[in-house]
Amino acid sequence: MTELLQNLIDGLGRGSIYALLALGVAVIFGVMHLLNFAHGELITVSGYASFWALGAGWSWYVMVPLIVAVSVATSLLIERVAFSRVRGADDFTLLLTSFGVHFVVSAIFLLYVSASVKTFPRPTWVTNTYAVGSLRIEVFDTVVIVVTVATLVATTLILQRTTFGLSLRAAAADFDTARLMGVRSNSVIRGAFALSGVLAGIASVFWLMRSGSTSPTAGIDPMLKGVLAALIGGLGSLRGAVLGGFTLGLAEVILRSRLPDSVASLTEGVVFLLIALLFIFRPQGLISVPHAERV
């Protein structure tokens, strides 16, 4: 029982970051029908920003807003340079465009920095824990969960209460109809990339605090987590993305603690396999988004 509770808390901490990433992926999928394999690049770029700024002696308190700003700017820049040019293209082109962005960003860091992993100091409190009964809870996980919940509440308010939120939800439900109803596609798409950048920025802060490093290919791991969580939840469903993030986090933690040692190092593979199976038996994800094609 204690172990299960412990897993639950660890899983929520991990899942929070995934949920933020997945929500960003889902928001963009909603407005562009683009599964963004370049989402992790926001973390790569933020990572290098942290490496340089922290190396220059900046404190983490300054870094938090800076990372979010860098992430938003990168997200908008990528939209401007690449995705705005392939709007309305087929899935094949969209998917490979986002992969292309991933490769170009990592190649630029490869060219101008190096292939090696760059590390920077992590905040000291990241590894602290406190005890509640027989549970050991990380201060970090607590912060992550609290901030994520606050972010999700704020995002929900934006989506429910603002005109932009309404446009975005309408576009996610049916982009063409939304346009006919007067939703401006340019601003809603840019807004979606900005929102996705903010969410990824917050996730970045946590991801970088925990990893304390970056490299040209550092984006792959968070990208996969975000994309997979969004897929688990059912692409296009914003609620599903959050749910998918927490599910993925919990699944990872539970698998890691329950699998026999000999296969524990295979956790990633097992998670992938489970997800492939999920697609096979429930292709629409946990939350299905109804969409019909008129013939």
Partner: protein, 618 residues
């Protein structure tokens, strides 16, 4: 198997030999120009070409983006290595090898066969998964499953050192040295080109391409896309397995990272730069990217030294840096996706071009065909059809009947349920209750492609042609389905139907280049070429002028006569319906409110009130 022996077998094989010869000649020329490392570069380009062709067979013909083919390559590579390495060598690397693999040793060519076999088994399982996930053309979930395959094979390879030698050591071997002659590579490459071209021209390839162009329309013509995608996957995996085995053989070793992201990126860039829908394009892509990468690598290493200019501190130093190669690959992928997603060659093929230039062309259209007598035994009966979308009753207890010798019309105002009725009959919408019976066979709850094969074939209100195929190829898709599934009927004559539809002059043009009226005629001809029992036409005159509609009346009668099919037609163009139909049903709010001859319908006060009256007022 092949609609036209000359065009689909002789020319493709001939073209493949030319492609092969040119590709190899370019490689040898390059090699003699830049000696030393160039030889190895060319050898790997030849092997990469085999891998890229394998990927092209699946990705190009089905339109589904796969990241998993190098994952299949990894499986094949390890299987090959495990069977080809001598027991003594294995004892050094993997003394605890499972499944008694330690003592197994077969010749290298036998090992290739084993690799192909093992990988095929995995591909079969993955293929079932892809089909279950509802793989549609370009479907995102299918792509993610292939990505999962790539990552899972990589993870297993890294974490199962007893089998694979692990992340560091890997498996390496001396089977009398590495591959010491290029002959096997040449043979495999030529075979890969021939297989890729023949598959694309074969029945399976054409049906897969039809589903790539429009999944729904392909199903409505009787194509089962899932079966075709599976066939494409298996053939492509065989080619990839051979290529991967050769790569391991030539390398003399295999590590998990050899068959992972990097090679996936390289092969995909080659494919999309050349043109994923073309075998010629795939080879062009391999050549262009191999040379491009090499140039980028050298520029990155030596800067302008490459050209013997030696400008130290030149203004371009900021770009001529190490790892320029990676930038080149990323920019190639991104640039082509943004500016030329179809690649350099799109779907151009050498042998098609040669056939166009050299092939005998019948200049005059064929003689007009004799009509086929409809056999009146099979009646189409839809009975008690109820459909509700949520709380909305789209159809309420609808009965409709049609005989093969008649043209039956269904009219009704917008939202009356006409298209829904057609969708129920052709299996695109499931009815809540009621039945659809054709000649005594119950077709309710049957999948749409099976319904089409039973003889109910439809057209679409919003035109669904196979856009990048030519007029003739569009009609041939239906012919291929008819030839396989409607053997009891006289086989449709493709040329005759094209001529009768007035498309003879345009037969080699792509469907997307046709004007609207011509596209409508093509859709009709394509449906007729399935030799259906009934043609079901969804607003064939929508968007047409009155005079065009009149021409359409003749067209529909003629086409139906040529294949002996009955007709059920939906429209709200009253002149058209009255001009063409023997009997008319009038639908309103999901219910049949009147039925009779055109004259009776015109005179019916209920119809006038519900339909004609309302339009007259509006």
């Amino acid at each position: 198997m092949f609609p036209n022996l000359r065009r689909d077998v002789v020319f493709p094989v001939f073209g493949s030999v030319i492609l092969f010869a040119v590709f190899v000649a370019v490689g040898l020329a390059y090699q003699s120009q830049f000696s030393g490392a160039a030889e190895r570069l060319v050898t790997f380009a030849l092997i990469d070409a085999i891998l890229v062709l394998g990927i092209q067979i699946y990705v190009g013909n089905t339109g589904i983006l796969s990241f998993g083919h190098i994952g299949f390559g990894a499986i094949a590579g390890y299987a090959f290595a495990l069977f080809a390495i001598s027991p003594a060598e294995k004892l050094k690397r993997i003394p605890d090898a499972p499944f008694g693999l330690l003592d197994v040793s077969v010749g290298p060519w036998m090992a290739v066969a084993v690799a192909v076999g093992v990988t095929l088994v995995v591909a079969l399982i993955v293929g079932v998964g892809l089909a279950r996930s509802g793989a549609e053309s370009g479907a995102v979930s299918a792509t993610v499953i292939t990505l999962a395959l790539l990552f899972v094979t990589h993870e297993v390879a890294r974490n199962w050192p007893d089998l694979t030698g692990g992340d560091r050591a890997g498996l390496s071997f001396r089977i009398g040295g590495t591959l010491d002659s290029r002959v096997p590579i040449y043979i495999a490459l030529l075979a890969a080109i021939v297989v890729a071209r023949l598959y694309a021209q074969s029945r399976g390839g054409r049906l897969a391409v039809a589903a790539r162009e429009d999944d729904l329309a392909a199903r409505a013509m009787g194509v089962n896309p899932l079966v075709q995608q599976m066939v494409a996957l298996l053939i492509s995996v065989v080619v990839v397995s051979v290529g991967a085995s050769l790569r391991v053989y030539e390398n003399g070793s295999i590590l998990p990272r050899d068959m992972f992201f990097n090679l996936t990126l390289v092969t995909l860039v080659m494919l999309i730069v050349g043109g994923r829908r073309s075998v010629t394009g795939a080879l062009v892509g391999v050549a262009v990217i191999t040379v491009g990468r090499e140039v980028a690598r050298k520029l990155g290493q030596d800067g302008f030294e490459l050209f013997g200019i030696g400008l130290d501190g030149a203004p371009l130093d900021w770009i001529f840096r190490e790892n320029l190669k990676s930038v080149f690959m990323g920019v190639s992928m991104l640039g082509f996706m943004i500016w030329r997603p179809a690649g350099l060659l799109d779907d151009w093929e050498l042998d098609k071009w040669l056939h166009g230039k050299l092939g005998r062309r019948s200049a005059s259209p064929p003689e007009s065909l004799p009509p086929v007598e409809p056999d009146d035994s099979s009646v189409l009966v839809a009975q008690g059809v109820d459909v509700a979308f949520g709380g909305f009753q789209a159809l309420i207890d609808v009965d409709v009947e049609a005989a093969r010798s008649e043209v039956v019309g269904v009219i009704g105002p917008n939202g009356a349920g006409k298209t829904t009725l057609l969708n129920v009959i052709t299996g695109l919408v499931e009815s809540n209750s009621g039945s659809v019976v054709l000649g005594g066979t119950d077709l309710s709850a049957t999948r749409s492609f099976k319904i089409a094969r039973s003889g109910l074939v439809r057209t679409f209100q919003n035109l669904r042609l196979f856009d990048s195929l030519t007029v003739r190829e569009n009609v041939e898709v239906s012919y291929l389905v008819a030839a396989a599934h409607r053997r009891h009927r006289p086989p449709p004559d493709v040329d005759g139907l094209i001529a009768a539809a007035g498309l003879w002059e345009q037969r080699d043009r792509r469907a997307r280049e046709l004007d609207y009226g011509t596209s409508r005629r093509l859709e009709l001809a394509r449906a007729a070429a399935t030799a259906p029992a009934f043609l079901l036409l969804d607003e064939p005159t929508s968007g047409m002028s009155d005079s065009e509609s009149l021409v359409m009346v003749e067209q529909v009668r003629q086409m139906a006569g040529l294949v002996g099919a009955g007709v059920v037609v939906i429209d709200h163009d009253l002149n058209f319906i009255i001009g063409i139909c023997d009997r008319i049903y009038c639908l309103d709010c999901g219910q049949v409110i009147a039925e009779g001859t055109p004259a009776e319908i015109q005179a019916d006060p209920v119809v006038q009130a519900a339909y004609i009256g309302s339009t007259a007022e509006g």
